[in-house]
Amino acid sequence: MSYFIQQIVYGLSAGSIYALIALGYTMVYGIVKLINFAHGEVLMMGAYFTIFGIISFNIPIILALPISMVLCALLGMFIDRVAYKPLRNAPRISALITALGVSMFLSNFFKLLFGAEKRKMPDFPALKGGYVFGDVTIPYKAILTLVLTLVCLITLQIIVRKTKVGRAMRAVSEDKQAAQLMGVNVDLTISITFAIGSALAAVGGVLYAINYSQIFPTMGTLTGLKAFVAAVLGGIGILPGAMFGGFLIGIVENLTKGYGAGGWSNAVVFGILIIVLLVKPEGIFGKNTREKV
């Protein structure tokens, strides 16, 4: 039993990273109906920025993380402006292919710059060890991850629900043209969405690096994909849904690993996605929408 609980603890920790990344996917999808495949690469770059700050410039992580968030936010906005904005009115499939292209570009370009090999994340002595309850250990890393994730989610919810920017976001995701007619600056709103999503991805990337003690140029590809699966599971465009999906995937993944089927974990994740989409295509928390005839 304690072994099972231990796996759940690990799962929650991994899941919160997925959740953070899934939030970015779900926000962007909600607002421009685009799977931003490059989101995974933004997370990877967030991790690289932070580590460079720490190693090359000796900045403490407390400072390196916010700087990296800002850089990623700018990067996200830049990607949107250069690659996605020209295609805003093109068929969805064109924008999707572009997103794939951006993702390929970033991961391969980084491979060129820094080599494909894995780099070790510096250790943080303060994060070694954890609380011990009988046979179950809750690592400090996991606590940090969970707390940081919850803080991000709550902040995000406040932004979306209570601020003017958030209202603009909801309006644009509902109906772009109507929002424009009502005086919402659609382009700016989309930019802000990309910025927030990318900043969250940076946090996700750093937490990933801390938890797994390594970074590499393709770390974002599969992580990003699974985070997107999380967003779809919860119901795309729904923030708590993304959160739930992230935790679900983290737990499932760690249970399969913990019970000797580690090689199958990604297959199980995609299997769950397929089953959920077949039973409830709009996701677990999603509302049913139908095409107007």
Partner: protein
């Protein structure tokens, strides 16, 4: 012009092309290395054309064709190894029988997989279908990796080498002809009408669900054939080949050539095949360049090189005859 004459012209054109390639090989212009490149391009043409049917003609985003190819490769390879051992007959005939039956077997396995994934998931729209096919491709890859009986993580060796330049030429010609004939029939029109407007297609009597599954399964079938061809050409299967990135590479060929043009697919497969060789020295840059090409393509020429245009030798001949007639009369 009689249909029979039209088919003769096309077959004649293909024969001339084949003879030219063989001549170049005999006189030594094309060495073994180049022949290998041509065969690799041929396999890419088969799999990319099959993807074009699903994505370009049917309009369904499929990002897991490497998976179908893997199924075809493993199916064909295992049956091939078995048949080679048990069949007793002259080598030449045995080669043909084994090749044909195993490719069909691999194709049918892939088509069954296509049905299994297509029937439930084709009601999902656009990007969701893309993610499901992507996930399905990964599931197939992971399953192969983890099941020793299929092949596990090791390279499968000892597969008969049954595919050379002649076989690949015939296979490419057959697959392209089959797809082309299919697209130009009531079935093909139904498939294209779904891409154009699914609701309208249903409203004029096209059973859209049936045709989505039908198109998808045929696409998977030919992807399976491509996989089997690859196995019989290399004589081995590297399980690490069938990744998501490989699916994306196939997808790039289709997009680059033009969704809805087999001519485009052929041209793009050749272009990328040649580019792969030229960029071999700077392999790291290859994917970066592809990525930039892909993005630029979508922004500046989203229809691909060919759009939906199809090259036809018959049309060229017809135009030529018409021109001659005009010159005579004036």
């Amino acid at each position: 012009m009689k249909k029979r004459v039209e088919y003769l012209i096309t077959t004649g054109g293909l024969t001339v092309l084949y003879l030219v390639i063989m001549l170049l090989i005999v006189v030594g212009v094309l060495n073994g290395y180049y022949v290998g490149v041509i065969i690799a391009i041929g396999i890419n043409i088969i799999v990319a054309s099959s993807l074009n049917l699903a994505t370009g003609f049917l309009g369904q985003l499929a990002l897991g064709h490497a998976g179908f190819m893997a199924i075809g490769a493993y199916g064909a390879a295992h049956l091939g190894k078995y048949l080679m051992a048990v069949l007793v007959m002259p080598d030449f005939i045995k080669g043909i029988i084994v090749l044909v039956s195993c490719l069909l077997f691999g194709g049918i396995l892939a088509a069954i997989a296509g049905l299994l994934i297509g029937i439930p998931s084709l009601r999902l729209r656009g990007d969701y279908l893309g993610i499901v096919t992507l996930g399905f491709g990964e599931i197939i890859r992971i399953s192969i990796f983890n099941i020793e009986a299929i092949g596990g993580a090791r390279t499968v060796l000892g597969i008969p080498k049954l595919v050379g330049i002649t076989q690949i030429f015939i296979l490419v010609a057959i697959v392209l002809a089959a797809l082309y004939l299919l697209v130009r029939s009531r079935h093909g029109r139904a498939i294209i009408s779904i891409r154009e407007d699914e609701i309208a297609a249903e409203a004029v009597g096209v059973p859209t669900t049936f045709y989505k599954v039908y198109g998808f399964a045929i696409s998977a079938f030919f992807a399976g054939i491509a996989g089997g061809t690859l196995a019989f050409y290399q004589g081995l299967i590297d399980p690490k080949k069938f990744t998501f990135m490989f699916s994306v590479e196939i997808f790039i060929i289709v997009v680059l050539g033009g969704m809805g043009s087999f001519t485009g697919t052929v041209i793009a497969a050749i272009l990328l095949g040649v580019m792969n060789e030229l960029l071999h020295a700077v392999d790291n840059w290859r994917m970066v360049i592809y990525a930039v090409v892909l993005i630029a393509m979508m922004i500046f020429r989203p229809k691909g090189l060919m759009g939906t245009y199809e090259f036809s030798l018959v049309k060229v001949v017809k135009d030529y005859i018409a021109k001659r007639k005009n010159q005579k009369t004036t």
